[in-house]
Every structure is written in structure tokens, then in C-alpha cells.
């Protein structure tokens, strides 16, 4: 099954390159691909507007240039293994960007290359494969399937991937124990606390071993203790090589990232690197120092 998948996505990749041929001349993207490993995320002049005419809302890409009338758009490159925090005030376009990166929404304009594949050239079925195999998405509002026990919840992406029942169960149980919920496998979402629900959501996102974990305010609804639990899991995932992009409003959460982006009015206005791409994330680099610098003392039981 997995071989079939990689074969499929391989075909997709070549197809995308061929499709990119006519308009690819102006993009430096192709050249970079020739020399190094392609970045996990590569975004060029991304725009997203909602509505039409006067009522149009420019959610991403910034205000149009007064002279040319063209928005600058968002350019973003995220390397393999990076851990990026996206910050910005409410309505600045963070979720809009994240939904496009997660292939849940399509941009109005611009190109998005995921692992070198132009997502714009994929059909419905290929997109569902990409969502299933390449991306793990964690929502601010958990978005668990109602009335479904935790184990079935985590098995779901594997079921869609066509993994056999026994193997599925084994991997789902492993993912659930990774997030510390081995004793809650039969609980339905309405029988779990918010933090536990979010950890189920994280387990569901990572069970297919995706190269990229996208999290839209994963700790937005959680207390400080649950926040630490979830962040510890994310830190460990990043340390094991997963690329992580997360949205947050809290500096405390942003402290865990290797790189912090700041959005204002749909444009990236600041890009600060806190730690190198290679190596463990700040929290695991020197745990004692990291904990000491915490704004408020926390119990270390979280990790």
C-alpha cells in the first residue's frame, strides 16, 4: 500500500513539473530544486481574497500597490525539519495562510509547492492523498469526529490510507500512548477534557507519520498545564525530524519555535530565527536553561 502511494505521488511530482513548464521560466524555484533538496514549503506571491468587488476582503497578500494596483503577496520558504511559529493580531491572515498550506483551501493567486509538488496542479483525489500522507493538521477547535471513540478517531486517517485493521490498531495505540492517552482509547470526544481532545487531535495528525505538522493555535483553548503537554509532544516530533508550523498568540508558545514569523494585514513583516534548522528545538536543546527562563515557574511533569 505504501509503495503504491509513493509511486502515485512520484507520478504526481513529475506531472506537476511538466505542468509548471510554460510559466516556470520566471521562477527561481526550479533552479533551487536542481541544487539542493527542495524545501517542504515554498510559497510564491500568495494571495487570498474573499468576496468580489467592493465587498472583497484581502485576507492574505497585503494591500495593493497604489501605483500598479498589485498586491505584493506572501513569499515563504520553510526548510525540512524547521519549527516555525506564526504570530500576528486577530484577522491578520494566519489561519488563511495555514489553511492554504494544509491544502484545505485554495489561494486566489500565487503558487504553493509542497515537497516540490505544485499543489495547484493536483486533482481532487491527489489532494486527498496529500492531506492524508503528507500533512498532519491540528485545529484550534480540535475538530474531532463526533460520537467516535479516541482509538477509532486516530485510526481514521489510516483507514482512509487503506492500512489493514490490525496494523491500524497497533499504530493508533502507539500514537495515543505517545500523547499520553493510552488509558483513554475508548472515550468519546464528549468524555474527554479539552487538553485530552487536543492530544487526540495531535495523535490523529501524527499517526500517518506526515513530513509536516500544521497546527492552528493548538494550545489556544488549553490551560497552561495542557499547553505544556501538547508543546512537549510537538517539540519531540520536531526533534525527530518533522517540520512543524504552528500559529499562536502566546509568546510562551512561540519560545518553543526555531523561527518566528509575524503577520500584519496579510503580509510577513518580521522573520526571526531563534535556533538553527538542524538539531533539536530550543526546549530540548538545553531543557534546564529553557525552563529557568520561563516567565512563570511550571511543574516539569509535563514532559
Amino acid at each position: 500500500m505504501r509503495q503504491l502511494l509513493s509511486g502515485r505521488l512520484g507520478r504526481v511530482r513529475t506531472g506537476a513539473h511538466r505542468a509548471a513548464g510554460p510559466d516556470g521560466a520566471a521562477a527561481p524555484v526550479e533552479e533551487e530544486n536542481l541544487w539542493g533538496p527542495s524545501p517542504v514549503i515554498e510559497v510564491r506571491s500568495l494571495l487570498k481574497t474573499y468576496g468580489h468587488g467592493d465587498a472583497a476582503v484581502r485576507a492574505l497578500g497585503g494591500p495593493p500597490d497604489p501605483v500598479t494596483g498589485v498586491s505584493p503577496g506572501v513569499d515563504l520558504v520553510v526548510e525540512q525539519g524547521d519549527m516555525v511559529a506564526v504570530m500576528g493580531s486577530s484577522g491578520s491572515g494566519k489561519s488563511t495562510l495555514m489553511n492554504i498550506l494544509g491544502c484545505l483551501d485554495v489561494p486566489s493567486d500565487g503558487r504553493y509547492l509542497l515537497d516540490g509538488i505544485d499543489v495547484g496542479g493536483l486533482d481532487e483525489h491527489q489532494l486527498s492523498l496529500v492531506r492524508n500522507r503528507k500533512i498532519g493538521f491540528v485545529f484550534q477547535s480540535f475538530n474531532l469526529v463526533p460520537r467516535t471513540p479516541a482509538l477509532a478517531q486516530v485510526e481514521l486517517p489510516l483507514a482512509y490510507a487503506g492500512v489493514k485493521a490490525a496494523e491500524r490498531r497497533r499504530r493508533a495505540l502507539a500514537a495515543l500512548s505517545l500523547v499520553g492517552l493510552a488509558d483513554r482509547v475508548d472515550h468519546r470526544p464528549n468524555e474527554l477534557s479539552g487538553g485530552q481532545q487536543q492530544r487526540v487531535a495531535v495523535a490523529r495528525a501524527l499517526v500517518t507519520a506526515p513530513a509536516m505538522l500544521l497546527a492552528d493555535e493548538p494550545t489556544g483553548n488549553l490551560d497552561s498545564h495542557s499547553t505544556e503537554d501538547v508543546l512537549a509532544i510537538i517539540d519531540r516530533l520536531n526533534a525527530s525530524g518533522r517540520t512543524v508550523v504552528l500559529i499562536t498568540h502566546e509568546d510562551e508558545v512561540a519560545r518553543h519555535a526555531k523561527r518566528v514569523l509575524r503577520l500584519v494585514d496579510g503580509q510577513v513583516v518580521a522573520d526571526v530565527r531563534q535556533a538553527p534548522v538542524d538539531g533539536p528545538p530550543p526546549a530540548l536543546r538545553d531543557p534546564a536553561v529553557f525552563a529557568a527562563h520561563a516567565p512563570h515557574a511550571l511543574t516539569s511533569g509535563g514532559s
Binding site: G102, D105, S128, L129, R131, P146, P157, Y160, A161, R204
Partner: protein, 403 residues
């Protein structure tokens, strides 16, 4: 996702809202059962008509007074039917295809026996040939004879309804009843004919023609003449012979200005059968409407279910569910609903058809069972797939934002 898993997902989806699933199933059940039962009732009643055609005898022809179906322009000179006409028809030389002839007079009278009074639907005065021609057989006792007719004896053969109403369980044979003030001796009781019409053919008294004429109607014209042809195939030539004989009897030259009418029992019953067909079609239409309502029920439920679960569809798509899998789940749900509902409807319809409904014994039409079931499932499939397809085609984020 193998089919078994899709099915498991679907069962889970239905079990999550048992009341709604149950009500939808009930709608389909009623629709399918109604089609089966109503069509069985219609079919049962036409079957009953067919049976009575055989009972009444297909060789019989009835001659009655009055113009043809087109209405008679020469109606002013209408001559009534008489015993002489009957005698002329019985002549084998001029009407070789006629087996026997029985002139009839009919009247309604009240019969009395031992303080019990019963108003008899039809008191018939006729000849013994009437019994064979009208396919009336005695169950007890005997027919009256030609001798009884010649001697105007006050004897009578009574129908089974008349017998039970007057005598209860006692045997009427040999007893005296008083009909319209005249005492009659019961010599025989007819077999039960049964019937579908409003008139009970078993509520009758049959007596020798001169006796009834003497007692009630007088020796004038007869009501009608019952003629039996030699065979079922001979009814048409017999009909022509009767027409020729009566035309000369009544002095009519123009065959378009007849003052009498010859009709076969079979053709009368054909008319009744076609009326019955209309009845069946009407019932079928009612049944089809109830099936349609059941189908709309499925559509509605699927629409509500899908709308309600659009967010869930969004979640499933976000974690990589292909459109086909989501579609499969909802399709399996609606198919299950209509399969189970339709199956129970078939069972309900077959059970319901075992009971007698408004005096009609339903006869199930196998095609209606298959048809109703197939239509129910097809409606479920078609209207189940439509809203699911709509939701599964949304972008994940649109579905997730759905309220």
C-alpha cells in the same frame, strides 16, 4: 476502505440517530407495504369477477326488452317479450344453436316462515331450464320439474341466503313458506354462489313461471328470456338466430330498430371486469403516491443528515478522506435504510394481504412486490447520493466552516 468497512461506517452512522433512521425506514415500509396490499386488493376483486364469470356460465344469453345500445328511434312500437317469443326461440328448426329457453318474470316479495319475515331480493318465475342456463345448482332437495310448471304447483327453490335468513340452521326442504300471501312448498336450496356486487345473488326464490304470474305479476309480458347456447362457441350464432326469430315475431324489418336486446353473460362480466381494472389502477396510483412519499422521506432525511454532518465531512476530508469514500459511506447509509425499510415493507405487505379487506380476498401480484422493493431501493440510492455528492464536493474548509 473495503466494502465491509464502508458498511460498518454506515451502520454506525445510522445507529447514531436511531429515531430518525427508524422513522425513515417506517416511511419506506409503509410505502412498499401499501403498494403490495392495495394492488393485491385490486387484483383480488378482479379475480373474484373472473370466478363469477365461470359460475354464471359462459353459454348463457339474456334477451331483454328495449332498444339497442344506440337508442331506438322506433321505440314507439316496442313490443314486450312474451312466453310466445320464448316458445319460438325453443324451436330447433329456426334456432339450431339454442340448447334451452327459459322465460323469466321477476318481482320482489316478502317471505314469511314461522313468524320470521324476510324480504326477498328477487322472486323469479321461470322454467326448469333456468337452473342449468344460470348455473344454479341445488345443494339440498331438488329442482322443480316441467310437470310442476304445467300444473302451476306452488313449489319453490330458494337461495342460500334466503334459506339461512328464514330457517336458520334447520333444513327448509319440504317446509311451507308464505310469499306475498301465497304459500309455497320449498323443494330445494341452491348452492351458495357468492358475489362481488351489492346485490346478493343468493337472496332469491325461484318458482314455476305460471305460479308466479298467477300470484304476483299477471299473465302479461315476461321480464327477460334466458337462453342457453349449445356451447360457448355457439353463443354468437345463437345470438344471430335469436335476433332473426324475434324480428319475425315482432314484425321488424330494419335490424337497426330492434325493440329487444340480446346480451351474453360473458360480455356483461367483461364490462364489470374492466370497471374493476379501473379500480385496480386507482388503487395502484394511491399506492404509488405513498411510495413516492416514502421516497421523499428518504431524500429529506439524507438532506438533513448531510447538512447536519457537513462539518464532519469537512473533518474527514481534512484528514485525507477521498470524495469517493465519503460518498460511499452516505450512499451505504441510504441504501441500508431503503433496503431494510423496503424489506420490512415486503414482509408487512405479504402479511397484510393474508387478511380479507372490505370483503375482498387480496391476491398478491408478484411483480408488485419486486417492483415496489426495487423502486424503494432505487429512490434511496438516487436521492441518497445527491446531497452526499453535494457535500463531498465542498472544499474541506468550506465544509468545516458550515453552520
Amino acid at each position: 476502505m473495503n466494502p465491509f468497512e464502508t458498511l460498518r461506517f454506515a451502520v454506525g452512522g445510522l445507529a447514531a440517530n436511531k429515531v430518525r433512521s427508524g422513522l425513515t425506514m417506517l416511511g419506506v415500509l409503509i410505502g412498499v407495504a401499501a403498494v403490495i396490499i392495495l394492488l393485491a386488493v385490486g387484483n383480488g376483486s378482479s379475480q373474484a369477477v373472473k370466478d363469477s364469470i365461470e359460475k354464471l356460465g359462459t353459454n348463457a344469453l339474456t334477451v331483454s326488452s328495449g332498444g339497442g345500445f344506440g337508442g331506438s328511434s322506433a321505440a314507439t312500437s316496442t313490443k314486450p317479450l312474451t312466453v310466445d317469443d320464448a316458445r319460438a326461440l325453443a324451436d330447433p328448426a329456426s334456432a339450431p344453436d339454442v340448447e334451452s329457453v327459459a322465460p323469466e318474470v321477476t318481482t320482489s316479495q316478502t317471505a314469511l316462515y314461522d313468524g320470521t319475515s324476510h324480504s326477498v331480493n328477487q322472486v323469479v318465475g321461470t322454467y326448469p331450464a333456468y337452473f342449468k342456463a344460470s348455473n344454479s345448482k341445488v345443494a339440498k332437495g331438488d329442482y322443480f320439474s316441467a310437470d310442476d310448471v304445467l300444473n302451476s304447483r306452488k313449489v319453490a327453490v330458494i337461495g342460500s341466503t334466503t334459506a339461512t335468513d328464514l330457517f336458520g340452521t334447520a333444513s327448509p326442504v319440504g317446509r311451507k313458506i308464505v310469499i306475498g300471501g301465497t304459500p309455497f312448498t320449498v323443494v330445494g336450496v341452491l348452492d351458495t354462489k357468492g358475489g362481488t356486487g351489492f346485490q346478493d345473488p343468493d337472496d332469491t326464490v325461484i318458482a314455476p313461471l305460471p305460479t308466479v304470474q298467477n300470484a304476483f305479476t299477471g299473465f302479461g309480458p315476461v321480464s327477460q328470456i334466458l337462453v342457453e347456447a349449445k356451447s360457448a362457441d355457439a353463443t354468437t350464432p345463437a345470438q344471430n338466430e335469436i335476433t332473426t326469430v324475434l324480428m319475425s315475431q315482432h314484425g321488424i324489418k330494419d335490424s337497426s330498430a330492434l325493440d329487444f336486446r340480446v346480451s351474453s353473460q360473458a360480455s356483461l362480466l367483461d364490462t364489470q371486469a374492466s370497471t374493476n381494472k379501473t379500480f385496480t389502477v386507482l388503487l395502484g396510483a394511491v399506492a404509488a403516491i405513498s411510495l413516492l412519499v416514502g421516497g421523499i422521506g428518504i431524500t429529506n432525511i439524507m438532506l438533513v443528515t448531510v447538512t447536519e454532518r457537513t462539518r464532519e465531512i469537512g473533518i474527514r476530508k481534512a484528514i485525507g478522506a477521498p470524495k469517493g469514500v465519503i460518498l460511499g459511506q452516505f450512499l451505504a447509509e441510504s441504501t441500508l435504510l431503503s433496503l431494510v425499510g423496503g424489506g420490512l415493507g415486503v414482509i408487512g405487505g405479504l402479511i397484510g394481504s393474508r387478511f380479507t379487506i372490505v370483503g375482498i380476498k387480496p391476491v398478491v401480484i408478484p411483480e408488485s412486490v419486486v417492483g415496489a422493493f426495487v423502486i424503494a431501493v432505487a429512490i434511496g440510492l438516487f436521492f441518497g447520493s445527491y446531497p452526499a455528492n453535494r457535500a463531498a464536493s465542498l472544499r474541506p474548509i468550506e465544509a468545516l466552516r458550515h453552520e
